[in-house]
């Protein structure tokens, strides 16, 4: 059966500060550098969500793009766009909002909500990729155990 991957790009802006209470000020400053600035800073993140599967024989689509867009808006963008990741996104009350961790959090949220939204479709979540800047890109595969198939 033909398997295609469809990737959709989304954009959101958010602020963060890289700092862990597990380390002292000097260590935080040494590890995170400018990203440890107490006032925080922000990025225009570019999020890529990749789904995979066999396109529907009638529609020629893996999933309606509008459905995917609404899903990502509801599950991710609403929670992170124009937010302070440290103070406004629950997972980061205990976790440093590096983009490694952000990619993992986004993947986990998408994976958890995916089955309810797309159970009727053959498409599965494949991976999440986040461009923090043009030069730093983070990618995580979605855990097959929580896929909808």
């Amino acid at each position: 059966m033909p398997q295609v991957r469809v990737t959709r790009r989304y954009r959101f802006s958010a602020s963060h500060r890289l700092h862990t209470p597990a380390l002292d000020e000097a260590r935080n400053s040494a590890i995170y550098g400018k990203c440890n600035n107490p006032y925080g800073h922000g990025h225009d993140y570019l999020l890529e969500v990749t789904i995979a599967g066999e396109p529907d024989a009638v529609t020629g689509r893996l999933a309606p793009l509008q459905d995917l867009d609404r899903f990502v808006e509801r599950v991710i963008l609403k929670a992170v766009a124009h937010r302070n990741l440290n103070t406004e996104v629950a997972e980061f009350s205990m976790l440093v909002p590096t983009t490694e961790n952000l990619a993992a959090v986004v993947a986990a949220r998408l994976a958890e909500a995916w089955p309810a939204a797309f159970a009727a479709r053959a498409a599965r979540l494949e991976k999440v990729r986040i461009h923090e800047t043009k030069r730093n890109i983070f990618e995580v595969r979605v855990d097959p155990a929580v896929r909808s198939e």
């Binding site: 033909p2 295609v4 991957r5 469809v6 959709r8 020629g60 689509r61 309606p64």
Partner: protein
């Protein structure tokens, strides 16, 4: 080793399946369902696999790749209406998924005469939507 060649073409299409009612077409294809059609600047990335020739240091002659892409894809699709002018899209909906798979089908045999194998086709319909296909 992999080598990727990029090519662009512009084409119009409409995504509408007469087997489905109007509301379903709208729900599945959104703005793409407008029966008057619309267009995209498609960007196609074709990834080939092979080993560099010990003498030339090349996997494949990129001039040949350029010519294959021109003949098999750009000439028949650039500045065309996919539904009306590019089979099989008179019969199946020219979604990005179907177009990507059709491009693979057209390219696969063309590279069999070259030292490189077709490995991946990646088609950007817009900057924010791309489809990848690795054949069967």
């Amino acid at each position: 080793m992999l080598i990727t060649r990029k090519v662009e073409f512009s084409a119009s299409h409409t995504c509408w399946n007469p087997l489905l009612d109007g509301a379903t077409n709208e729900a599945v294809y959104g703005g793409e369902a407008n029966p008057q059609g619309h267009g995209h600047n498609y960007v196609l990335e074709v990834t080939l696999e092979g080993e560099p020739d010990p003498v030339t240091g090349m996997i494949v002659d990129l001039k040949d790749v350029k010519q294959v892409l021109e003949q098999a894809i750009v000439a028949p699709m650039d500045h065309r209406h996919l539904n009306h002018e590019v089979p099989p899209f008179d019969r199946i909906v020219p979604t990005a998924e179907n177009l990507t798979m059709e491009i693979w089908r057209r390219l696969k045999p063309r590279f069999e005469a070259t030292p490189a194998r077709l490995r991946l086709v990646r088609l950007f319909e817009t900057e924010d939507l791309y489809v990848e296909y690795e054949g069967l």
